[in-house]
């Protein structure tokens, strides 16, 4: 069990898992652990929102339960479902064998044995390593009724199954919600959480992240890659590259045995950082060279 008694300890624990986080994020994670509040993370795609739940689970040695949200997500796939085929088999067997009392059969059919647990219910169950980490990913993709349902589940950490009664978590799970902000999540849900907007990291932090995630990249290449991506984020692009793209790109360049960036190398591998045709078009030719020159110029004084 790792130490989470103060902000430094939390930062260190995450760093040990290869997740470099700033003081701001460290503070919020610490508060979420200490106050037992869900953590609500918003930010552009690819800035490491989902990764933090994984790093937390690994760092605290807890089980990670992931609920990926999508449009039309309902209680059956989020909380629980009765295993209907198995129940039917049990009924037919009972019929064939005969002599079973009705009440016994009913008690047997609606027992834990025939219950298919989905992520939310799993997270309420005790675990030998302590309460699990529940990651509710991309909550903005679900519809509002499900959000209202989450509200209830997250405030009491309890779900109700009509046949079995309420199931309450003995120890509240560590909940991390992420959103890409494709729509505004209701304030009532946000109010119950600690909020943090995950921003693109600055140069130094991104260098640290790249070192942690792609240690085989040389220092010179890493510096150029990060400087270029940082410069790229200041340009007027449809979708700015995230940290995940930086790491991917560095790995691409390594796979191609590049030792430093050149306009040709950029043109060949641009698909790793920019994912929209409009953006790629924009960076064809002299534009890439201009940004590269600017990026190199920003490295000079260092």
């Amino acid at each position: 069990m790792s130490d989470t008694s103060n902000i430094d300890a939390v930062q260190k624990m995450l760093a040990d898992q290869g997740y470099v986080c700033g003081r701001a994020l460290g503070t919020v994670v610490f508060l979420a652990l200490r106050l037992g509040r869900p953590l609500f993370l918003e930010g552009e795609a690819g800035v490491g929102k989902t990764e933090i739940a994984k790093a937390l689970a690994a760092g605290l040695n807890r089980r990670l339960i992931r609920l990926q949200c999508y449009e039309g997500l309902d209680a059956a796939s989020a909380v629980y479902e009765w295993n209907f085929p198995a129940q039917m088999v049990a009924i037919r067997t009972a019929e064939a064998a005969g002599g079973t009392k009705r009440a016994d059969l009913q008690a047997e059919l609606f027992s834990d044995e025939y219950l298919v647990e989905r992520p939310l219910l799993q997270a309420m169950r005790p675990d030998e390593n302590g309460a699990p980490v529940l990651l509710i990913d991309e909550v903005d993709r679900t519809d509002e009724p499900f959000e209202a349902f989450l509200l209830e589940a997250l405030s009491d950490f309890q779900v109700t199954i009509p046949e079995l009664g309420s199931i309450k978590a003995p120890e509240p799970p560590i909940v991390v919600l992420t959103s890409n902000r494709t729509r505004e999540v209701h304030d009532a849900l946000k109010r119950r959480c600690l909020y943090h907007w995950v921003d693109y990291p600055d140069f130094d932090r991104e260098m640290e992240i790249l070192h942690a995630r792609a240690p085989e990249a040389s220092d010179a290449l890493s510096r150029e890659v990060v400087a270029f991506v940082q410069q790229l984020r200041t340009e007027d692009l449809f979708k700015k590259p995230g940290v995940a793209e930086t790491i991917d790109w560095a790995k691409c360049l390594l796979a191609l045995d590049m030792i430093n960036l050149s306009p040709e190398a950029i043109a060949d591998t641009l698909g790793a950082i920019l994912k929209y045709q409009d953006d790629i078009q924009k960076l064809q030719g002299s534009e890439a060279k201009r940004i590269l020159d600017q990026a190199k110029a920003s490295l000079e004084p260092a």
Binding site: R23, A24, T27, V28, L31, L35, F84, Y195
Partner: protein, 421 residues
């Protein structure tokens, strides 16, 4: 980001009080903070300890901010509030009218002005006989929500043109809260729903998973789709006072996520047409309007409505008016060009949109009659003709924008026009 100065704060019981007052200042600056959050914040500060300014900042940030656009406001209010209390008095003194001229010379950073006003609103400059700051026990600031109901009603009907600077600021705060609701259009595509029509495909798929046993019937309903809103705003000299406030309103509408409108396209026109949609998407309203102002070169110049609408019809109409877009045309209709050409372009615009609403600030005058040539030419080609000179009139617009049968003052004025001819 906030610059971290060493803290000079009283002991714990007062800290809780100060956090409460800080929350009130944030509320004044437009952050939605309820008492529950304040309790959370005090608990959070206890948990995180009160050691470094940076941790303190992020602790409060985690509790009080829950939208990215609030981060700048929070940073500024934090910077102004949690500094040496004596500094606050300097700030207050700086806001007295005598020194105000100096203060205005400095271009304020985005959100800073709003933060400062939120903090200092209602707080008078310290009286000369007040005790020295060192002896001053209560450093908290009194903030007073001074708009009572009846005053607010009066204020809502006040013409934008007659507002003082302070009233203008209050109007902007109010405009930021007005919503422009819209009814969805039903599209032909369907989605899973709780009730509606039977969805045979999904029902059978679910049955197959249960070994052919059909248990529930799955339902589907038509997927709602929200139309786009297109705003054409006149920024010529005769409209200057209105267009600035209208742009504030537009910013609020285009940034109200989840409120309806699929996309808000905004254009300004005076002597030429400018697309400012991208600029309005910046979260901070001051920054957005500054960028929009830089893009539109023709502020407070003349008007060539006909030419600008022609430009719109040619360059943009096909790209943005599809799928049932609603067009909001905001102009006084005082045009010097050929009225016939203007009429033709208006007709074209009208035919290519689902609904064309004209907001005219001149309509505030009771005796308004469509005498100007431009107005006469445009009036027959709009679906609805409404006033747009005060907060109340914009709220009235919000009530009727989805109602297809609403025509505003159009019929009355057309009748007047007919009588005159």
């Amino acid at each position: 980001m906030a610059e971290h100065l060493p803290l000079d704060l009283p002991e714990d019981p007062k800290l809780a009080g100060n956090i409460t007052h800080f929350a009130r200042a944030l509320r004044k600056a437009g952050l939605p903070i309820g008492p529950g959050r304040v309790v959370d914040a005090i608990a959070a500060v206890e948990a995180a300890g009160f050691t470094s300014r940076r941790d303190f900042y992020w602790t409060l940030h985690a509790c009080f901010v829950n939208r990215p656009e609030h981060r700048t406001v929070f940073a500024q209010v934090f910077r102004l509030y949690w500094r040496d209390p004596r500094y606050l008095e300097h700030m207050m003194a700086a806001l007295t009218p005598m020194v105000r001229g100096v203060q205005e010379d400095r271009a304020p950073q985005a959100a800073e002005k709003r933060a400062a006003e939120a903090l200092l609103h209602g707080a008078d400059a310290p009286a000369p006989n007040q005790p020295e700051p060192g002896e001053d026990e209560e450093t908290a600031i009194e903030i007073d929500a001074s708009l009572t109901m009846s005053k607010e009603e009066k204020f809502k009907n006040l013409d934008f043109e007659q507002m003082s600077t302070a009233e203008m600021e209050a109007a902007k705060r109010m405009l930021a809260r007005i919503e422009l609701p819209v009814d969805p259009i039903r599209s032909r595509r369907t989605m899973a729903a709780v009730r509606g029509r039977v969805d045979p495909a999904r029902t059978l798929r679910a049955a197959m998973r249960r070994g052919g046993e059909m248990r529930d019937i799955a339902w589907k309903a038509q997927r709602p789709r929200w139309p786009n809103l297109i705003v054409l705003c006149d920024i010529s000299g005769s409209m200057s006072q209105y267009s600035r406030l209208i742009l504030h309103f537009l910013h609020a509408v285009s940034n109200a996520k989840g409120a309806g409108w699929a996309k808000v396209h905004a254009f300004t026109f005076g002597t030429r047409l400018t697309n400012i949609t991208r600029h309005l998407q910046q979260r901070d309203v001051d920054a957005a309007l500054k960028a929009a102002g830089a893009e539109a070169q023709d502020w407070e110049g003349g008007t060539r409505i006909g030419r600008c609408i022609e430009d719109f019809n040619r360059d943009w109409s096909r790209r943005v008016t599809g799928q049932g877009a609603v067009v909001l045309l905001i102009t006084d209709g005082l045009d010097r060009d050929d009225p016939e050409a203007l009429g033709r372009q208006m007709q074209r615009l009208h035919l290519s949109t689902r609904r064309l609403i004209w907001l005219n600030p001149l309509l505030r005058f009771d005796g308004f009659a469509p005498k100007a040539q431009g107005i006469t030419a445009m009036l027959p080609h709009v679906d609805s003709f409404r006033a747009g000179h005060s907060i109340a009139s914009l709220e009235a617009l919000a009530d009727v924008i989805s109602r297809r049968e609403d025509v505003g003052e159009k019929d009355r004025l057309l009748k007047a026009l007919g009588a005159r001819i």
